[in-house]
């Protein structure tokens, strides 16, 4: 297991958001996390990446304990993420946004900057190279100099992914990457997610409400409900799991009532 | 040569001390007009330039730079010690004679490059006067309050030192911040310390508030204030509470026998009575002019030489001669008492 959670419990003011969650992601796989609104999916991401501090349990990544580490430490270990509502540095260029990902892989400081040492300059070139590579990979390189906020929403989501890739992770967490995308954009997102795994060897864990997308990309689907994992398995198994239908998917024929 | 002799007047004509500053500027102007009317100085007219210090160190350095660049041949003034301090170097670098007319913190002495002359008695003299006065009144337990600026802190420190050396007790030493309105905590400290007398070493504005609050807070002992509080405005601010308050003061116009004409002229010219520091600044300008006249030149080194050997002749505020440190050789303090909303002469 690349990422492993054991008995993770998270409470807010007496409200148990995650309840003894056991859960794992294998290296080099595509996995999803689904579940009703408020089930605790985003909270689980936040717990893994250090933004929330679960009261109990263990989270390990590649053999390292990550529970209650600071978010930047977790990123350094090799977990990258995107946010449910896009959080780019809006007033900065796409290029600069993606360069942010390289921060934790480089080290020049104030002295280097002021003195423009050869080391610092070489590092700057390296940062630019990687950033360009990541932008090309997701297909936003032509917008490198545009301000992030001026990009269409769909492209903003891609920039966020490029930025996450620039941290050179081994696992990437995507929180509802398809929300607000139209059909065509969704199709290319699916393509991209597969390439991340195939070409870069990065494992992907994704939260999504779009069942079409989830079923198409995931090798393994985990279902969270009221802070508990109620099911996991492949697309077929999940689709037909009565508990999942009851809690999350709803009956097809419910739509008929409309 | 018809060129005017340009003299800088460095006083705070804006800012919190502007009233005093304006008054001092007027007095210098009056003196210059008198000299000019009398045929001038070395046959030339005197022209004054206002170097507004605003009672602020940085502003006064700028103002000093301004004066120097406009080729002044000497400077009179200096009210707030803190603002006078950094200008010593500016004038010192140019070797210009500087007659300091009001600033009297002893901290100025070591910073003086030798070109400055202080014609107001220093804090050392005042603290001595104060301590002796308290002793003569049978005071044993003294409270000293300053305002955390160069002048009042210096005076307070010196008084504490002297008072303790004389074998008495300073029961509490307090500092308040300029611009604060509420002194109740200090008042209760004073009361609980069992002080018999309070010595306020800072300026009149907050002094008025302090006196009022001391009385309002039930303090019944003696209150004395230093020469920063000898303004008549103290009575306005303190109201009835300032009755019976003592002040150590430089000689102000109304208590100077020689100043009757000065008062008349000043009132005729400016429509108000001269404030506490007008006579000193008037003397300052006259003294500088005299030194130039005596030297027969405006050359700075020569003028400074003359000033150093000033012989003790009498001026409006009394005779002037200088110690080795260029401070006034005698103490010029008098003691005033508040009575019916005005200062009356108490003793010399």
């Amino acid at each position: 297991m690349l990422l492993n959670l054991e008995q993770v419990t998270l409470r807010f003011a007496g409200n148990t958001v995650l309840d003894k969650v056991d859960f794992g992601v294998e290296a080099n796989t595509l996995a999803s996390l689904i579940g009703p609104n408020g089930a605790g999916k985003t909270s689980l991401f936040n717990s893994i990446t250090g933004f929330y501090r679960p009261q109990e349990g263990r989270i390990e990544f590649a053999g390292e304990r990550v529970l209650r580490r600071k978010p930047h430490k977790v990123t350094q270990l090799g977990i990258a993420r995107t946010f449910q509502n896009v959080r780019l540095f809006r007033e900065m260029s796409v290029m600069e946004n993606v360069m942010a990902g390289m921060h934790c892989r480089t080290r020049a400081g104030a002295f280097g900057a002021v003195l423009r040492t050869p080391g610092q300059r070489a590092e700057e070139r390296y940062i630019a190279e990687v950033a360009h590579d990541c932008m090309r990979f997701v297909g936003v390189d032509e917008y490198a100099d545009r301000l992030a906020t001026n990009l269409a929403y769909g492209y903003q989501r891609l920039v966020e992914i490029a930025r996450a890739l620039a941290t050179q992770p081994r696992l990437i967490l995507l929180d509802e990457p398809a929300a607000g995308l139209n059909a065509t954009e969704k199709a290319s997102l699916i393509e991209l997610i597969r390439r991340i795994r195939d070409e870069r060897g990065i494992a992907v864990l994704l939260i999504e409400h779009d069942m079409g997308l989830v079923m198409q990309v995931s090798e393994r689907i985990n279902v969270l409900d009221y802070g508990r994992i109620i099911a996991n398995g492949n697309a077929e198994e999940i689709k037909n799991n009565p508990r999942v239908i009851e809690a999350y998917l709803g009956q097809e024929d419910e739509e008929m009532v409309l | 040569q018809d060129d005017a002799i340009v003299i800088g007047v460095q006083v705070p004509t804006t800012g919190s001390e502007a009233t005093y500053g304006q008054d001092m500027y007027n007095a210098a102007e009056l003196a210059a007009e008198e000299i000019n009317a009398d045929g001038g100085l070395l046959g030339r007219q005197i022209e004054l330039i206002n170097g507004d210090s605003a009672c602020d160190p940085q502003q006064s350095v700028n103002a000093a730079g301004n004066l120097v660049s406009r080729d002044v041949l000497g400077i009179v003034g200096g009210y707030c010690s803190g603002a006078t301090m950094p200008t010593l170097k500016t004038y010192g670098d140019e070797g210009l004679p500087f007659v300091i007319t009001a600033s009297n913190s002893t901290q100025l002495i070591p910073a003086n490059p030798g070109n400055a002359f202080m014609i107001n008695s220093t804090g050392a003299d005042q603290s001595k006067k104060a301590a002796e006065f308290f002793e003569s009144q049978g005071i044993e337990r003294l409270a000293v309050i300053d305002q955390g600026d160069s002048y009042s802190q210096d005076l307070a420190d010196l008084t504490v030192e002297r008072w303790e050396a004389m074998g008495h007790e300073v029961v509490t030493r307090e500092t308040v911040n300029k611009g604060e309105q509420d002194f109740s905590a200090v008042v209760s400290n004073v009361r609980s310390s069992g002080a018999e007398a309070v010595f306020w070493t800072a300026y009149y504005a907050d002094g008025g508030l302090m006196i009022r609050q001391l009385r309002q807070g039930g303090f019944r002992g003696m209150i004395a204030v230093g020469d920063g509080s000898n303004s008549p405005q103290l009575f306005e601010i303190a109201g009835g509470a300032a009755e019976g308050v003592f002040a150590f003061s430089n000689p102000t116009a109304e208590f100077l026998p020689a100043a009757a004409d000065f008062i008349d002229d000043y009132e005729a010219e400016y429509g108000q009575s001269p404030g506490p520091y007008a006579p000193l600044n008037y003397d300052g300008l006259k003294l500088l002019a005299w030194a130039m006249e005596t030297a027969g030149t405006t050359d700075s080194a020569a003028v400074i030489d003359v000033l150093e050997s000033t012989d003790g002749q009498s001026w409006l505020t009394g005779p002037i001669s200088f110690t080795d440190e260029n401070t006034l050789a005698r103490s010029n303090f008098i003691i005033l008492e508040g009575e019916d909303g005005a200062w009356t002469f108490f003793e010399n």
Partner: protein
């Protein structure tokens, strides 16, 4: 004076000072609440309030005298007039800045502060103005503990004003709208709230409270001058932050705590009055280190 009486006296002193701080801090906090502005001109609004109160009292003292009744009228008139001034300031100097970068409006606030200060300076020649009343110096004496009548009445007035404000904010729809406006202005508009009126009312009340404090302080301490708002403005700002900026109860609490801290600060033997402010600010920093949003400030729960 025995230790216990000293202690009680310090409490009394702290309460009086704290009431002034609290009244000013309330305006700080309310204004911060609705437009996220640290209104550096607020201390000067207090100063203007003192001068307006003084002017009114001088005008009417011939008729009604300068006793409690006259002072009451002066406070009221000053509150209304200065409240309106607050609204004008908001309209002229702050409203146009709302869409600018957040710190820009801080500079207009500082500029307004300078304008108010220097106008008062020119009008008064920088002199202290004596604020005469007929309230007398009487008081209650318990042993050596002394509480002046003035102090009692002023604390009471301050208390009443604060209670009235608290009721307004917590009980009325407008009070609730004030909180809502501080969170999301556009949403408020969609709910039918006239945002700019809510902001104006906030400035009206905040400035009015400062004016009340100014007039009361003038009468209590006996003199006023153009710079009197500066230091107390900073202190009130500090009080608002200690209490948790944005919180009304916090501002009151912060004001009282700061008042008490200052009055006790000078009592602590090894501190002494010259270190009083160092003591106060150190406590402030400590409070914020351990309670980063102030005593009653809501910690911002971020949902990500």
């Amino acid at each position: 004076m025995p230790a216990f009486e000293t202690f009680l006296q310090a409490i009394v002193n702290g309460l009086v000072l704290g009431s002034f701080y609290a009244l000013i801090a309330l305006g700080y906090t309310m204004i911060f609440g609705v437009i996220k502005l640290l209104n550096f001109a607020h201390g000067d609004v207090y100063m203007v309030g003192a001068f307006v109160g003084f002017g009114v009292l001088s005008l009417i003292s011939g008729v009604v005298g300068a006793g409690w009744f006259g002072l009451g009228i002066a406070i009221l008139v000053s509150m209304i007039a200065v409240g309106c001034l607050g609204v004008i300031i908001q309209r002229v100097a702050y409203q146009p800045m709302l869409s600018a970068p957040r710190l820009s409006i801080l500079i207009t606030a500082l500029a307004v502060s300078l304008v108010l200060q220097n106008s008062a300076l020119s009008l008064t020649d920088g002199k202290y103005t004596a604020f005469r009343t007929d309230l007398g110096f009487g008081g209650f004496e318990f042993g050596r503990l002394f509480i002046s009548h003035q102090a009692v009445v002023l604390v009471a007035i301050a208390g009443l004003l604060m209670i009235a404000l608290e009721l307004f904010v917590s009980r009325t729809m407008y009070g609730r709208a004030m909180r809502a406006v501080s969170i999301d202005k556009d949403m408020c508009r969609l709910l039918g709230i006239n945002v700019s009126r809510v902001v104006a009312i906030t400035f009206l009340i905040g400035s009015g409270l400062a004016a009340a404090a100014g007039t009361m302080a003038g009468a209590y301490y006996g003199s006023i001058w153009y710079f009197m708002g500066f230091l107390i403005g900073l202190k009130a700002f500090t009080a608002a932050v200690i209490g948790g900026i944005g919180s009304i109860t916090g501002a009151m609490l912060g004001g009282l705590i700061l008042g008490l801290l200052e009055s006790f600060g000078t009592l602590v033997p090894w501190i002494g009055s010259e270190w009083k402010d160092v003591f106060t600010f150190s406590i402030l920093i400590l409070v914020l280190v351990f309670k980063p949003t102030g005593l009653l400030g809501k910690s911002e729960v971020e949902r990500m």
